[in-house]
Symmetry: D2
Subunit: 145 residues, 4 copies
């Protein structure tokens, strides 16, 4: 085995990963999950342009919208490294909301913290405008088959 | 102050709470959040009948659907005790997924663990069929204004 | 397989579990972990009588003391059901602190939420004086070998 | 107010922060918390050299030891920015254990994700040998007075 701390090899490029995600969810659910911006070793970036059905009281983007984005971005970075055969299921997700999320583009940076044989752990940071201006941080655990 | 460990007084009954939730979210988002089943001191029960747009790969109910249900149930039990004036925002949510969620009714039992002046903490258990057969457990923190 | 929602069989009684925990940790670390009060299907209760080295600023019991107690109680309820052969390691722990913990006995109630083949999830509630008066709640995930 | 995403001003240098932590805990508890390596805007690094009483079954550093280190490192980075007057208490801590922790030096990098008026959120990464080789990641929430 290679050093587990070294960057891992990709099994999907950006277009192939986007196509795989598209075909994995019902079309009605798809818009809520945003789109792939880039795929790199240990890192997938996604972007969501929130729609009017994603608003919560106060005119801000709802928590469930952000949790859905964090979850799909974490899933995408796992898939990018294990490929389409594996059926990963979310085991746990812990999110902290840091700032109100405005009705603008939200970026999700999902980075692999550890890709084990049975469990993968992903750090996801959601931000708007400036990478340092976080809207939320999530740590997501995936069980691999 | 009353003993913080004693049951707290309700500010909403079931119908009023349901009406308040209905008016707080966009109609398009509303079906994803389920409906109020019962409201009691320290406890709100909700039920979601998952639709076809809530499916994820494997034909099971998606994680974001369950996180959205846990979040709204936690919000409902906080509102039930602080009333409509307060604008509570989710501060953190930690969920563990325990079993695949089938395309059947999902019950969410949200119970107040602590209602402080500035923070409320809620335990949410999602189950299908049998109260002991958990689909997920979440601990949700709310910041009170 | 038996119904996963039914109570599980015990592999340890209270004395055997206490002896196994005693021999598993260095004697110097042992006092920080409390003692077994009772062992029942899906439930282990432990008690910690905090010592002067467990205090944090403000004269209250420190967070790390409570996290250690939650972790060992969760480990104990897993061991009670999988037996001494299995080497369970903590995968994740999410704790919310709800009230200041006084220098009195702390009870930890650890309950199995799910005992799967590869992962176990445990709910732990720490309280003082009254079962409803929670000091902290933790959800602990264990990876089974 | 300054831009909340900009680096924040320090209220403590490394020596002053170390002295404040030393006087805040009982001497008997102090060794378990490691020592300050560096203090910079939004970032405190600590180091723990684990002792024989910090071992768990398997000869590795115990989870409670790592949780205690994560907690004190998160507290240190908050203190470094709010100063000695403020009495911050841990509100929540969510940790994922990623690799077995050997009996060698453990580094804790605590970084402020958000320093609000009432809540601070800190990302803590524990590693050995190589910054990319994480032993654990924790997200810690502090309530500010």
């Amino acid at each position: 085995m290679s050093d587990p701390a070294s960057p891992r090899q990709l099994r999907f490029d950006s277009d192939a990963l986007a196509a795989f995600i598209d075909q994995s969810f019902p079309p009605a659910a798809r818009p809520a999950f945003g789109r792939i911006v880039s795929v790199a070793p240990d890192h997938v970036r996604m972007q969501l342009d929130p729609g009017p059905d994603m608003i919560r009281p106060g005119g801000i983007v709802s928590g469930p919208t952000l949790m859905g984005l964090a979850d799909v971005a974490a899933w995408a970075v796992v898939l990018a490294h294990v490929g389409p055969v594996a059926m990963a299921v979310t085991n746990s997700l812990a999110i902290t909301f840091l700032r109100a999320c405005q009705l603008d583009a939200v970026i999700a940076d999902a980075r692999l913290l550890k890709l084990g044989r049975r469990l993968a752990t992903v750090d996801v940071r959601l931000w708007q405008g400036d990478e340092q201006r976080l809207v939320a941080q999530a740590t997501v655990g995936y069980a691999l088959p």
